[in-house]
Symmetry: C2
Subunit: 213 residues, 2 copies
DNA sequence: CGCAGATGACTAAGCGCATAGTCAGTGGGG
DNA sequence: CCCCACTGACTATGCGCTTAGTCATCTGCG
């Protein structure tokens, strides 16, 4: 259980990218996360990767293209983390599935909080076409949560909650931690995932006590 | 129940500011919310207020000073919204107080989602001294939630939850909605406040079912 | 009341600088 | 010896902020 010594950002890139391109993307993630897209210069990104300012344009068409590659690959990786292979059979019921999805969603965002910050907060800097492509990927996340919630409600295992609003709340919890999560804090990504999975279950359970005011 | 026709941003400024200064701040809020602090030019702010580029420097020392005034006044207004006058007596128990605090926190962030976006996402653009001042104000929010939660736990009216983690989750729910809330959506700020107050209560209630995995 | 002088909000113009992106050239591995 | 990833030097543009100056409105004195 030693704390990580490798940069989680480097785990996001695949073999299809040249090593130098991966270094540039990693540098860009850290720059964009710290100063934002518009607050980052192309020199920051290049020199952060140990290269000259012009080297960025060998591998990417523009600064915006760098952001697009980061957000595209980041979103796809996050989706992969939710749809773990060998789980297509859905052996468990809605409560277990809700726990699994929520804890994975939260743990991924905690582990990759730096890259996720870029993926969540810098979307408005994308070109309309690129933004469209990202939004299409993003639609999968509420869809996945919604299917779990509605199944649980339909089978009577969850209280008759408003699925749309609960899904938004669950996504909010996972997304917002990229704003405050720090790896040197008290919780590991997995611990935080388990805690938020508990919260998710309590949110779809019948509440004792007085009716809603 | 007609939808608002006035800009909620204009409600944030007091009489201590010259009318033109208020117009500039309002313009700046919209610019910063849309393009971020670094993505906004001083010209955007001034011309958005119907003034020449230099007019900004008649009322503010710098672009960063504009951001500071926005965040300072925004945070103070949000605090006011939680500590409503005439409630110092605390007549009700922890569940009612939790409902009241959470619903007000959420409703304020929904109504002022544009200004709140600036207050939440642009803090890193502040100077260290200004940031310090804002952070001092910000500490009040978790403090207020924490007192409600611990009182409820101590009196046995809430389940024995981890107050620190629950408080963070509650704040996350309120803060993150500034990222996605739109006034033309299905929920009014008050409706959303009531829904999230229900969620808050369910989060501090004992959960039936299997133990945490 | 009248009017010169002071006041201060606002503007036109622009300075110095940093930015994103370009391109001819270089040098080291295959 | 060629190729191409990479560099140094460059350009056009746009930035935050300053400066010098305009003008409507006050202030006080005769």
């Amino acid at each position: 259980m030693t704390r990580d010594v490798v940069d989680p950002v480097t785990e996001l890139w695949g073999d299809d990218l040249a090593p130098v391109a991966r270094t540039l993307l990693t540098s860009a993630v850290h720059c964009f996360a710290k100063r934002g897209f518009t607050g980052t210069t192309t020199r920051d990104v290049s020199t952060g990767a140990g290269l000259s300012p012009a080297a960025l344009y060998v591998h990417f068409r523009s600064k915006e293209d760098v952001l697009f590659e980061i957000t595209r690959r980041g979103h796809l990786r996050a989706l992969e983390a939710l749809a773990v292979p060998g789980e297509t059979a859905r052996p468990d019921g809605p409560p277990a599935r809700l726990r699994a999805v929520m804890s994975r969603f939260v743990a991924w965002h905690a582990r990759h909080h730096v890259a996720a910050r870029v993926c969540q907060y810098e979307l408005s800097a994308l070109s309309p076409e690129h933004l469209d492509e990202i939004v299409t990927i993003r639609r999968e996340f509420p869809e996945l949560f919604r299917s779990v919630i509605t199944e649980g409600v339909d089978r009577g295992e969850f209280a008759p909650v408003d699925a749309g609003r609960v899904v938004r709340a669950l996504l909010s919890l996972g997304v917002d931690l990229v704003r405050w999560y720090r790896p040197d804090g008290p919780d590991s990504p997995e611990q935080l995932g388990r805690f938020y999975a508990d919260l998710a279950v309590s949110m779809v359970s019948a509440v004792p006590g007085p009716p809603a005011g």
